[in-house]
């Protein structure tokens, strides 16, 4: 078991208000090699959970083990086995060139020179960092910086990668690149992946399993398809017809394929263009919530 929480709870005291239960008796189990999407609305408790998994925050009650270790007592050992990317925080040295950050991180993780060079070259190639390796981090674009951040978190070849909103603020192409990289990285090294996101694309592309958290409690644990099924989320085929009108045809992806729907539509009218709308993550989550109440 690479992640195991048992009744994990974290409260925050607030001045003049009742205490806030950010994570509420959470039981999560993740096996090595799994790819897990951890989703929920703003303030649901995702980041708080991640901080307890990595030893940053002390749980109020319950227990947590990551990579078989106690994140508080064995924080340093754990740091060698986990790579964490906080989309909103940088772990690079702002004023140093990216390449130098890697050198420092290599030293921090006691990587041998050949090991570091090999791994760095691999990441530079896969994440296409070559063109800005000598640029100070503060001058990088958001997309470039995120790629550098991911490389920094993976430099020590962790067995578990935790990403907290890794694609926040990225354009479609950058998101795609990052997802492709993570898929490839996982295929190559069998890494376990846990990621939080508000982007359904991340989940669909990367995650075999989805955990939905609501007010600190686990609201769903299962496959993405199962999630869509549970809440009845539908894909929508959008077709532009020859007569200039646009039709939206919702369909249940579990029952029919997009191709069948398109074939049926084409029988009735000439289709000039088409696109498929995926169920929106916020929408799916919202439905889970209303179903739970």
């Amino acid at each position: 078991m690479i992640i195991e929480t048992d009744q994990l709870t974290r409260e925050f005291k607030r001045r003049g208000k009742p205490k806030l239960v950010a994570v509420d008796h959470l039981d999560i189990r993740v096996e090595p090699g799994e790819t897990v999407g951890y989703i929920g609305a703003n303030g649901a408790g995702k980041s708080t959970t991640i901080k307890m998994l990595t030893g940053i925050l002390v749980p109020t009650s319950g227990s947590v083990r990551t990579c078989g270790l106690d994140p508080l007592k064995q924080r340093r050992e754990l740091a060698r086995r986990v790579g964490v990317v906080f989309g909103q925080r940088s772990q690079l040295w702002w004023d140093l060139p990216t390449a130098e950050s890697f050198t420092i991180l290599g030293a921090i993780h006691h990587l041998g020179r050949t090991e570091l060079t090999a791994r760095r070259d691999e990441l530079v190639e896969q994440l296409e960092l070559g063109e800005f390796l000598s640029t100070p981090v503060r001058q990088l674009s958001l997309g470039q910086r995120m790629r550098a951040e991911v490389a920094a978190a993976l430099l020590h070849s962790p067995q578990l990668i935790i990403l907290d909103e890794p694609t926040i603020g990225l354009d479609v192409l950058s998101k795609q690149r990052l997802r492709d990289f993570l898929v490839a990285e996982r295929r190559r090294h069998g890494t376990t992946l846990l990621l939080t996101t508000h982007d359904m694309g991340d989940i669909e592309r990367l995650c075999e399993r989805v955990l939905v958290v609501d007010h600190g409690r686990l609201a769903y644990d299962g496959s993405l398809a199962g999630l869509s099924r549970t809440v009845g989320a539908q894909r929508v085929l959008v077709v532009d017809l020859a007569d200039g009108t646009r039709q939206r045809i919702p369909f249940d992806a579990e029952k029919v394929t997009a191709a069948t729907v398109l074939a049926q539509a084409s029988e009735r009218a000439e289709v000039r263009d088409l696109s498929i709308e995926e169920p929106d993550i916020e929408d799916v989550v919202r439905r889970i919530y209303s179903a739970a109440r």
């Binding site: 980041s47 940053i56 050992e77 740091a79 060698r80 925080r89």
Partner: protein, 224 residues
Amino acid sequence: MWLVFHNVKALGGLTFTQVLLVFGIADVCFSLADMFFGHLDSLPTYLRQGTLDVFYLRPQPLLLQLITSDISLRRLSRASVGLASMVIALWLNDIHWSAATVGLLAMTMICSTAIYCAVYVWAAGAQFFLVNGAEFTNAFVYGGRYAATQPASVWNKPLKVVFGFIFPMAITAYVPTLALLGLPGPSWLPAWLAWTTPLFAAWSWIFGLAFWRFGVRHYQGGGG
């Protein structure tokens, strides 16, 4: 400084050159501590910006990461005034040089530096609990620094309690000076205590590290 002592011929029972020795020892040791641990001053900034999370994700002790994130040799230059004072005072004062006094001086320099470092660690640990904690702890860090450069016999009661024992500032320079000069010292601080500085250093570090550990566990996370 000269002006301060010019009119007062004897301070707390000491002469000017004797006080100069207290000042010199305290200032050199504090400057050394400041070079190694002074960067802990920036902890409140890290806490406010929420950038401390990153340090937790690296396989080194947090304290070590923070102090090594910027060891400034520039800070060492501040030791020059203290060093000059100490050398002059050692030369002007009538000291019985022997293996014992040399040993005592060396031990004092090491232990006093360690005590000041421990005060920095304590202050850093307190930042996790206190809003605007630096204002509060600076009173002890820099107040302690100032107190250490003075003969403890002129302190008032509260100062004696706080800087005599909780943060053992009196032990860092005043008491060793008494011992070096062969003076008896006040009844509450006999000069032989100079030989116990390692104990006070150990106590300071236990106290400082306990606070630090408590603080680290109390960290609320940087948001996001």
